[in-house]
């Protein structure tokens, strides 16, 4: 391998690593706040990429039906609860978010001719269609189990993942899609041509990480999420409801997932089930950070990206094996260095 190839592989690894880092951050966030290991994270990546691709070729993305269906289901569950409790003040909010909003999204898809829109608008429409599925999934699958042990939440998480992969096949078919690059520009650094999309991915990832950092460090709601992760009872006593924190963390995770999907769609062909593998690599990064430390998780994810890219050069058949084997030394090291903490709930 000469230097040029090494640098090209590094570029590739960092691009993928940036995406894995975003996903790792989302996984750490969701786990810290809700104790859910968010396996369906990858489906949001795939749904984001495939929804954008569908919109661009003028097809109605299947995620629209999912949004309408999930919205109706959430509305039904919440309205039944309202009737049971007899407190009717929240009815307009329930109907607004779960029935009116999806209907507006459907109207936008049918009336605005997304195929002719500028790409930024298509991206915004994709976000508007897929991101709300995050809190809806939380409401339907995880909110009723808020007090359940981690293992039960994990099993439900796997179930949600399988259901969403199945729906992905139904919505988008077995063929993969690719979207055009955000820009055709490329940068030459000495002998190395840096791909424009690489710059987009790395730049957008860094920007998103900075925004998340500011959100968690400075804003009231960001601090509330961190507080919930640190001490659930304490947070409830401040009036930070577990449900609100759960929905907010799922919203952020879905947002990160969909953005990641949109960012990598021009680089790799995305199939309905591609998300799972991408999500798992983010998970390896998150494990390096012990599902607790954001910076270590992000660094671990970049390491995963680099490892993947170099192993695809030297031993491409064993690429995935090498990446996922990374988990074993990390787990051994962690179990030797950290003392076991009993779960407090």
């Amino acid at each position: 391998m000469d230097l040029q190839i090494a640098l090209l592989l590094a570029q590739d690894g960092i691009t993928n690593g940036a995406i894995y880092a975003l996903l790792a951050l989302a996984l750490v966030l969701v786990f810290a706040v809700t104790r859910v290991i968010f396996i369906p994270q990858g489906e949001f990546v795939a749904f984001g990429a495939l929804t954008l691709a569908s919109l661009q070729v003028g097809k109605t993305p299947g995620t629209l039906w999912l949004l309408l269906g999930a919205g109706a289901a959430v509305a039904l569950v919440d309205l039944l609860l309202v009737v049971k409790r007899g407190s009717y003040r929240s009815i307009p909010r329930i109907i607004g978010w779960n029935l009116v909003y999806p209907a507006l999204a459907a109207a936008a898809v049918y009336l605005l001719k997304p195929a002719e829109m500028a790409m930024p608008l298509q991206i915004i429409l994709t976000l508007a269609l897929v991101v709300p599925l995050g809190p809806m999934v939380y409401r339907l699958a995880f909110q009723p189990l808020a007090e359940a042990p981690v293992l039960v939440l994990l099993i439900v998480s796997v179930a949600v993942h399988l259901a969403l992969v199945g729906l992905g096949l139904l919505f988008f078919g077995a063929e993969g899609s690719r979207t055009p690059a955000f820009s055709e520009a490329s940068l030459r650094l000495g002998d190395i041509a840096i791909n424009g999309q690489t710059l987009w991915v790395v730049g957008a990832s860094i920007a998103l990480i900075v925004v998340l950092y500011v959100f968690f460090e400075r804003s009231f709601y960001g601090k509330a999420l961190r507080a919930t992760a640190m001490n659930r009872t304490g947070a409830r006593l401040m009036g930070i409801s577990t449900v609100m924190a759960g929905k907010l963390s799922f919203l952020l995770a879905a947002l990160i997932g969909v953005l990641s999907g949109i960012l990598i769609a021009p680089i790799t062909t995305i199939y309905y089930d591609t998300g799972f593998l991408v999500g798992l690599k983010g998970f390896v990064g998150a494990i390096v950070g012990g599902l607790a430390s954001y910076p270590v998780a992000a660094a671990g994810a970049v390491l995963v990206g680099l490892l993947e890219s170099y192993s695809s050069f030297w031993a491409s058949a064993f690429k995935e094996v090498i990446v996922f084997t990374l988990i074993i030394p990390v787990l051994v090291w962690r179990s030797l260095t950290t003392h076991h903490v009993e779960e407090d709930e």
Partner: protein
């Protein structure tokens, strides 16, 4: 004493069970506006259960709770916080990895959510009550000493500008000097108009600051009365005021016999 108007909190015949075990049986108590009311009793009597049930952390089996004159059929923590109730739990439940200032700020989360953006002023007031917290404002809560943690827990609860403050064993595990300071602050809080329901094993200190007291034994209210009267009650002296009180108890028992 400021006893006019409706009571802040009325609890009647409250029962709470853990599975089949009843931890609280038919407990009734009242906290008047601006009053400090204490519930004393031994370990395991159900004191924490009582507070947690009032706050909504635990579901009640039976009984009624009226807060600010309004019945509360379904008690939810968030609703109670929004209504002006703050609980300082026995565990303090601080956000250990966050700074003192962030902990305090989150105390005002519900007010912020409801559109009251006055947490910087409230934080100044809390710093005036606990000057030590001002010095430590950038320090992580997890690195504070026991006394400072308790001050932060109380300060954080005050950030919500509560009408009723529930304190669960504020003296637990603290050095005597710090206990004294905490109780001085509790007594001073009377001036701010907040009503306080204080649960304590340290009966002597609690009865000194309180207006009214209840004795909780095996999940039931065994005794109640104005705090000074309870402090003189031979049963209370014998069971709760400890060794120092035993001599006094003996003398106070012998007095009526002699007369």
């Amino acid at each position: 004493m400021d006893n006019e108007g409706k009571p802040i909190l009325e609890v009647s015949s409250l029962c709470v069970s853990y599975g089949k075990v009843e931890a609280l049986h038919q407990a009734s108590l009242t906290v008047g506006a601006g009053q400090i009311v204490t519930v004393i009793g031994p370990n395991g009597a159900g004191k924490t259960t009582l507070l947690n049930a009032i706050m909504g952390l635990l579901p009640k089996t039976r009984g009624d709770i009226r807060f600010l004159g309004e019945p509360q059929p379904e008690i939810e923590v968030e609703r109670m916080v929004a209504g002006g109730m703050s609980l300082v739990p026995e565990s303090r439940a601080l956000f250990g990895g966050m700074s003192v200032a962030d902990n305090l700020q989150l105390g005002a989360f519900m007010r912020h959510r409801r559109g009251h953006r006055d947490h910087p002023e409230t934080m100044e007031q809390v710093f005036n009550i606990f000057p030590r917290l001002r010095e430590r404002r950038e320090q992580e809560a997890g690195t504070l000493s026991g006394g400072e943690r308790q001050m932060l827990a109380v300060g954080r609860a005050l950030m919500a500008k509560p009408r009723l403050l529930l304190l669960d064993e504020p003296s637990l595990g603290l050095a005597p000097l710090i206990v004294k300071e905490i109780f001085r602050v509790i007594a001073d809080l009377r001036q701010t108009g907040v009503a306080i329901l204080l649960v304590e094993q340290n009966a002597r200190a609690a009865l000194q600051v309180a207006d009214y007291g209840y004795v909780l034994e095996l999940g039931e209210i065994a005794l109640e009365g104005a705090a000074p009267e309870l402090a003189d009650d031979p049963k209370v002296i014998e069971s709760y005021l400890g060794l120092g009180g035993a001599a006094q108890a003996a003398s106070s028992r012998s007095k009526p016999a002699a007369s």
